[in-house]
């Protein structure tokens, strides 16, 4: 039971053309149900770390194990269906809210999952502080904060085992940011969702299993605060 959900060993990454690595020999173990917050100034590779975990970038060295399996042997679409990544600036397709929410179910990797019914979607919209929004209205016309919450909801719908949230509040006003933090904490507390998020703000998660790390460029190591 003690096996890590995610284990990173000796991870090394350098941007193409850069002389110094963003990090090297980076280790991290994440257990199921944990809430991992990674802090650090801009440009230290926090977002890159999340992107490497879901293979949106490729490391130059080291391994990432998900449920004990090297992520490079898991089909990328299946991996990303299990480890869901939400980008800093959430993207929507030019379609109604409902179509955006059900987008993951149009992909083969999610074909065995059951798409939720409109009643479920409306209930969830309320829970994500998006009450009043209809499934028929255009997703592109929502505010940044609404899009961010919609993007997190869309990721949850495909029932991932772990969520990676890249600076989810950086573009938001304090009120919207508080809503997003509250959603993340609730998902972790009540749904036991394993969450890994990065930020350069002073936020600290109010959850029992929250662990805060700091990614420092010079030491290129994570240390528990």
């Amino acid at each position: 039971m003690n096996q890590s959900l995610l284990e990173i060993r000796n991870l090394a990454f350098t941007y193409p053309g850069a002389s110094l690595p963003v990090f090297e020999r980076l280790d991290l173990a994440v257990r199921s149900g944990e809430f991992i917050l990674i802090k650090g100034p801009s440009g230290t590779g926090k977002s890159t770390l999340l992107r490497l975990i879901c293979r949106l970038n490729q490391p130059q060295g080291g391994t990432v194990l998900f449920r004990g399996r090297d992520i490079t042997v898991i089909p990328p679409a299946a991996l990303r269906s299990s480890i869901s990544y939400v980008a800093q600036l959430p993207q929507m397709i030019d379609a109604p809210v409902g179509e955006n929410l059900l987008l993951p179910f149009s992909f083969r990797a999610n074909s065995k999952k059951r798409a939720p019914q409109p009643e479920t979607l409306y209930r969830m919209l309320d829970e994500f502080y998006l009450g009043g929004i209809t499934l028929e209205q255009s997703a592109l016309k929502l505010s940044a904060g609404q899009k961010q919450r919609l993007a997190i909801m869309r990721s949850i719908l495909q029932e991932p085992e772990m969520m990676l949230l890249d600076e989810p509040t950086s573009a938001l006003d304090p009120e919207s940011a508080a809503m997003v933090f509250s959603i993340m904490e609730r998902l972790n507390r009540t749904e036991k969702m394993t969450i890994m998020t990065v930020t350069h703000s002073d936020y600290r998660p109010e959850t029992l299993r929250g662990i805060v790390y700091r990614l420092e460029n010079r030491t290129l190591q994570l240390r528990e605060e």
Binding site: R55, P76, Y85, A87, L89, A109
Partner: protein, 261 residues
């Protein structure tokens, strides 16, 4: 009806009047096109004369290796024009594009020349070379347009492609609309040409046949075959090229390799 009027050298030089008019317009309105018009005119003159002599030689030689060699040179030239237009450094698209062009253009030229026109032998240069030339010239533009569109959209829409990847899409699903837009943008000109042919313009090949005394009712048959051939070969070639090149825009983890601009 069947006698073609030859253009004497003096009359040919008289055609330079059109170039002089273009040059005068450029000078009068400060268009700065003088140099390009002059070079273009000289190249047209030199390249077509060269081609005329080469064709006279090939048509008379009935030589299979020579015919194939000329065909290959035409494809190589088309590839170098595409390379000049599509400035892409991050994705190696040249070799797969060239090989696809070589195979599909050959198959098209063979089908039209050897089966529809039923020339004997199938590589009869009088049919095979002009057919190949039309296919290559037309489809080359389509491929260049489609490649440019594929790369630019992949860059512009990188965040949306990555959003779909992050939600469990494979690289095909994530870039489905980028692929479709690239292929259609390349195909639209040849589809539009089918709409306008005979109404808006008389195609070059048909005009040439009529000028050389061919019955217009025979010329239109050739032209119909050519129009269909151009649409078909453009579709097949651009789809194959886009399928191969799109795959190359993604890495081993199905991550987008092209950096945003």
């Amino acid at each position: 009806m069947n006698r073609i009027i030859d253009i004497s050298t003096g009359k040919l030089l008289l055609a330079f009047v059109f170039i002089i008019v273009a040059q005068a317009s450029s000078i009068f309105y400060h268009l700065g096109l003088g140099r390009d018009i002059a070079i273009g005119a000289l190249r047209t003159f030199a390249q077509l004369f060269l081609m005329g002599y080469v064709l006279t030689f090939i048509l008379g030689s009935e030589n299979l290796p020579l015919t194939i060699a000329i065909f290959a040179i035409m494809v190589i030239s088309a590839m170098s024009i595409i390379k000049g237009r599509v400035k892409e450094k991050q994705v190696a698209y040249i070799l797969p594009t060239f090989l696809t062009m070589l195979v599909t253009y050959f198959a098209t030229a063979f089908f039209v020349s050897g089966i529809i026109v039923d020339s004997t032998p199938w590589w009869e240069p009088r049919y095979f070379i002009p057919t190949g030339g039309m296919v290559i010239g037309n489809s080359m533009s389509a491929i260049a347009i489609a490649l440019e569109r594929l790369f630019s959209e992949m860059r512009q829409r990188r965040e949306v492609v990555e959003m779909k990847l992050a939600l469990g899409a494979d690289f095909r699903e994530a870039s489905d609309d980028v692929f479709r837009n690239a292929v259609t943008s390349g195909m639209i000109p040849s589809i539009n040409a089918m709409m306008g042919v005979g109404l808006v313009f008389i195609p070059g090949m048909m005009s040439g046949q009529i000028l050389s005394g061919t019955d217009p009712l025979v010329a239109i048959r050739y032209q119909i075959v050519v129009m269909f051939m151009l649409v078909g070969s453009t579709a097949v070639t651009s789809i194959i090229v886009m399928l191969i090149v799109r795959k190359r825009c993604f890495g081993s983890g199905e991550e987008v390799l092209l950096s945003s601009r």
